[in-house]
Symmetry: C2
Subunit: 230 residues, 2 copies
DNA sequence: GCTCTTGAACTTCCATACAAGTGCATACTA
DNA sequence: TAGTATGCACTTGTATGGAAGTTCAAGAGC
């Protein structure tokens, strides 16, 4: 007797061409591999990815909605330049949502997610010691996601993620000195401690502090890299 | 001597076909003219709007990103059903951001926007007396926008707008009894008063109260209209 | 009667061709 | 020389045909 699995209900195994192009372009725009102000064209990108213009176009539109590309009809498409204003707007929105998340986490945050958050902090310590900045940043993201998931706010996280990109893009300019990651680990620990204690006000304050410290090293970058800013 | 205006720098006079389709479909989905669970198809919509399938496809993708359509590859596209969970998630995110907006408004809110907000409240009173619910809802939106604009947080408003759709969609089911609009006007007035006094805590409380009252009449609708909910 | 196969009728996804608009270099005119 | 057309090369926007995949029902085989 064979069991027939409902294959049709599974998500497609391979992501669409449009999704792949969007994902890769987005990563490049955020880590500044694709430079702010750079001119892109549908046909050029299509050739690079070996697909037709159509999926590229869909990716462009999606990235435009995220505020990462500026599609000018019949004129061209450019990567939007960095902007202090946009970065601060992103921080404002992100802080508003993440503060609400930790506030809720103080009410509902079961042991499973507490353990996960704790292990992510431990992993960050290791990454900091090893000087693995890329890994550190990935773990940082996972920590924030764990908070959102534990507070049952994943929809809110998707809203945060869009804003986060505008902060990450500016932060990608900062040089990563050896000890720069340690304070961030301590801040994560402070947030988690407050949540475990159920102390909402302390958790909120810790999150606000953390989000402000993330942007610590960006002051003056708009002057140093003036050509990348609008 | 003739002055040549830089026409090329103006935005295109006529919106693209894709934008038009998206705008009209979005409006229909939010006011439930297009019913939750209904099956759409690119070719059918293309024929209805007298355009090709391509711009329709782009509109579908955009609406999928907003959580309004569910595009299933090679299977079909359906209008996502209403969801109490999604509505509450939207309220959570919206409240987080709008609370932050009024908090900031208590610090920076110049006379121009104060007057505008006040006149919008007056207009809402008139609409309420006239029983013009559609106009009332438009003015409600404009009031919240005025707060965001006055607090210099327009980017935050665009984030709110996406979430607002999921609340509006459920609210579109409620019957509008004659006196149902008056409390909302009073709540707007309370928010504005607190902002004028620079009393952040009172403004925040007023906004939270307002947002909870908006969803006052929706309890039990998921049972009355079970077929529209997932 | 029940199970399995198969094919037709749909769907979304992608490739290609063409339409429409922009900007710039070049040549022409006063 | 300065100013003005004009055509070309480029862009994004739209239309259309076909590829790939899903669903469903009719019919063959047992």
């Amino acid at each position: 007797m064979t069991i027939v699995l409902p294959i049709q209900s599974l998500p497609r195994l391979q992501e669409s061409a449009a999704a792949r192009v969007e994902r890769e372009l987005r990563a490049g725009i955020i880590d500044l591999t694709i430079r702010p102000g750079e001119r892109l064209s549908e046909s050029e990108i299509a050739e690079r990815f070996q697909v037709s213009r159509q999926p590229v176009r869909e990716a462009f539109i999606a990235l435009m909605r995220q505020g990462l590309l500026d599609v000018q009809p019949q004129r061209g498409t450019v990567v939007v330049k960095l902007s202090v204003r946009r970065m601060l707007d992103a921080r404002f929105i992100r802080e508003a949502i993440e503060v609400a998340i930790v506030r809720r986490a103080c009410e509902r945050f079961d042991a499973h997610y507490r353990d996960r958050a704790a292990s992510l902090i431990a992993a960050q310590e290791a990454a900091a010691r090893a000087g693995d900045h890329a890994g550190f940043q990935r773990l940082d993201s996972l920590f924030h996601i764990a908070l959102a998931e534990g507070a049952d706010c994943m929809e809110a996280w998707t809203a945060v993620e869009m804003q986060k990109a505008h902060m990450d893009r500016v932060c990608a300019l900062t040089l990563h000195s050896p000890g720069s990651m340690d304070p961030l680990v301590a801040q994560h620990q402070a947030i988690l401690n407050a949540i475990e204690d159920g102390d909402a006000e302390r958790a909120v304050a810790a999150m606000r502090h953390h989000l402000s410290e993330i942007l610590r090293g960006v002051a003056g970058l708009d002057l140093t890299f003036a050509e990348l800013f609008e």
